[in-house]
C-alpha cells in the first residue's frame, strides 16, 4: 500500500491510498510503526488523511487501534481526516468514530492539533 507523508511544522500527515484490507494493511502498519514512537507529548502529531482510502476492513481498523493505543500511552495525538462517505460509514458501524477524532478536512484536523502545523499548511498553499 502506498502511504505518502508530508510534514507541516510539528505534525505529520500520512495519506494512505486505496483499500485497506487483509492484503494491504501491512503497508499502513509499516507507515504507522515508523512514526508512532515519536508521536508523544511534545513530539509529532499524526494526522491520517483518508481522502484517498475507499475501504477499510476490520484488519485495517485493528491496525489503527493498535497505533492509537500506543500513541495514547505516550500522551500523543493521532486523528483522522477527510473520510470518504463509505469509510465514514464503516467508522460509524464499527464505532471507530468514538475512538478517533474525525475531521472533515486535513486543514481542520491540523488546526485542532497544532497552530504551528496549521500555519505551515496554509503557507504551503494548503497542499
Amino acid at each position: 500500500m502506498q502511504v505518502s507523508e508530508v510534514r507541516y511544522g510539528d505534525s505529520l500527515v500520512l495519506t494512505p491510498v486505496g483499500r485497506i484490507d487483509n492484503s494491504t494493511n501491512d503497508g499502513l502498519k509499516a507507515a504507522l510503526d515508523s512514526h508512532v514512537a515519536n508521536c508523544r507529548r511534545g513530539g509529532d502529531r499524526l494526522v491520517l488523511d483518508f481522502s484517498r482510502v475507499d475501504y477499510i476492513s476490520s484488519v485495517g481498523l485493528r491496525v489503527l487501534m493498535l497505533a492509537a493505543k500506543k500513541v495514547r500511552e505516550q500522551d500523543g495525538t493521532i486523528v483522522v481526516a477527510a473520510l470518504q462517505p463509505v469509510v465514514r460509514e464503516i467508522f460509524e458501524i464499527s464505532r471507530f468514530n468514538l475512538v478517533f477524532q474525525c475531521f472533515a478536512t486535513v486543514r481542520e484536523a491540523l488546526g485542532k492539533v497544532s497552530a504551528v502545523a496549521l500555519a505551515a499548511y496554509d503557507s504551503a498553499g494548503g497542499a
Binding site: 487483509n22 481498523l61 485493528r62 458501524i93 464499527s94 471507530f96
Partner: protein, 321 residues
C-alpha cells in the same frame, strides 16, 4: 426435507427482560404510529403491527441466554447449549408431546460458562423418568459444571434427583460424528477456558453454531481455519456481542466478536445467511435493531460475492432451511 432452526435463547452473558419503562415506551410509540390508521379491530391491528410497525417497537429480541434447536422433522430433539432458553424449550416439548411421551434430547455444549448451562435445572424433561438426555461437548468438565450448579447452597434439587437418564459424551474437535441424523464436527474457539463451535451437516445443508468466540482476522491461520469451518454454510449463528471498536480495545481478549467480523468471515466463507447472536445484555431492542441495520449496510459495502443474508436472532425466531 425442510430443516428448522428455532432460537429459544439469544442473549449473551446474563438473561435480561423488558422493564416497565421499555414496555411503556413501546406502547407510546405504537399508539403515535397508529394514529389515523383506522385500526378498529384486533385483526387490523395485528396485521398492521406485523407489517408496518418497526420490529424494535412491536416485538422484543428477548432475554434468554443461549439455546438453539435444530429440527429435521424426524422427532429427534437436537439443541445447542443449555442457557435459560432451554426452560421455554422444555415447556414447548411438554405442550407438543404431552407429559407421557418419552424423548431423547441431544445437546451440544459450546462450553460451560454459566449463561450456557443455567437453564438446565429448569429443563422440565430432565425431571421425567424415561427421557434420555445425551450431552455432547469437547470439554471434559461438563458433568462437573452441571452437577455443581445444582449442589447446595446454589439450588434445592440435586443433580442426582433428575429422573431422566443423563449421559455425557466427550467429542474430539476436528472429528466428524454422526449423531441423531446429523454429521457434526466441533472446532476449538478463542474464549476463556475455550469454547467449541459446531458444524452440522444434513441433506447437503450446513448450519454452523459459533458462539462465545473471539475471531481474530489478523491471524492468517485463524482466518483460514474459521473460513473452512464456515465454508458454504447455509446458516451461521455468530457471536456478535460487541462493536469492532470494543472487541479490539477495552474488550479485547474477552472472548467475543463483532458484527463487522461476522460479515467479513461469512463473506470469506461464502456463507449464505448470518444470524447475529449472543446479544449484549446492555443493548435494548432499539439498539439491537440499529446494529442489525448497520450490519446489513456493512454487508453491502464489503460484499465480495453473492449477497449474504443477515438477521438478528430473537427468542422465538424460526428459520427454515
Amino acid at each position: 426435507m425442510a430443516l428448522w432452526v428455532t432460537f429459544w435463547g439469544t442473549r449473551g452473558s446474563i438473561p435480561v427482560s423488558l422493564d416497565c419503562a421499555s414496555v411503556r415506551d413501546k406502547l407510546a410509540s405504537a399508539i403515535v404510529s397508529a394514529a389515523g390508521k383506522g385500526l378498529d379491530t384486533q385483526e387490523k391491528a395485528r396485521a398492521w403491527v406485523d407489517t408496518e410497525l418497526d420490529f424494535s417497537v412491536s416485538h422484543t429480541f428477548g432475554g434468554n441466554s443461549a439455546c438453539v434447536q435444530l429440527d429435521a422433522g424426524d422427532g429427534e430433539y437436537v439443541l445447542c447449549d443449555l442457557g435459560s432458553g432451554v426452560r421455554a424449550f422444555g415447556n414447548h416439548v411438554f405442550s407438543r408431546d404431552g407429559p407421557s411421551k418419552k424423548n431423547t434430547f441431544h445437546i451440544f455444549q459450546s462450553h460451560v460458562h454459566w449463561d450456557h448451562i443455567m437453564g438446565f435445572p429448569f429443563f422440565g424433561p430432565a425431571y421425567v423418568p424415561g427421557n434420555k438426555i445425551r450431552i455432547y461437548g469437547c470439554h471434559t468438565n461438563i458433568e462437573e459444571a452441571l452437577r455443581r450448579q445444582q449442589d447446595p447452597p446454589s439450588f434445592p434439587v440435586p443433580f442426582d434427583s433428575l429422573s431422566a437418564s443423563i449421559e455425557f459424551v466427550t467429542l474430539q474437535p476436528g472429528r466428524s460424528y454422526d449423531i441423531a441424523g446429523w454429521s457434526v464436527t466441533a472446532r476449538r474457539q478463542n474464549h476463556s477456558g475455550d469454547s467449541y463451535g459446531y458444524r452440522f451437516v444434513r441433506d447437503g445443508r450446513v448450519i454452523v453454531y459459533s458462539t462465545d468466540s473471539e475471531h481474530r482476522l489478523d491471524i492468517p491461520d485463524e482466518v483460514e481455519g474459521a473460513a473452512t469451518f464456515f465454508a458454504d454454510a447455509d446458516l451461521v449463528i455468530f457471536d456478535a456481542m460487541y462493536s469492532l471498536a470494543e472487541a479490539v480495545s477495552v474488550k479485547e481478549d474477552w472472548g467475543h466478536s463483532s458484527n463487522v467480523v461476522a460479515v467479513e468471515l461469512c463473506q470469506l466463507a461464502n456463507a449464505k445467511h448470518l444470524v447475529l447472536f449472543h446479544h449484549e445484555p446492555a443493548n435494548n431492542d432499539e439498539r439491537i435493531t440499529e446494529i442489525w441495520r448497520e450490519t446489513l449496510r456493512y454487508e453491502e459495502i464489503s460484499r465480495i460475492g453473492p449477497p449474504l443474508r443477515v438477521s438478528a436472532a430473537y427468542d422465538g425466531m424460526e428459520i427454515e432451511l
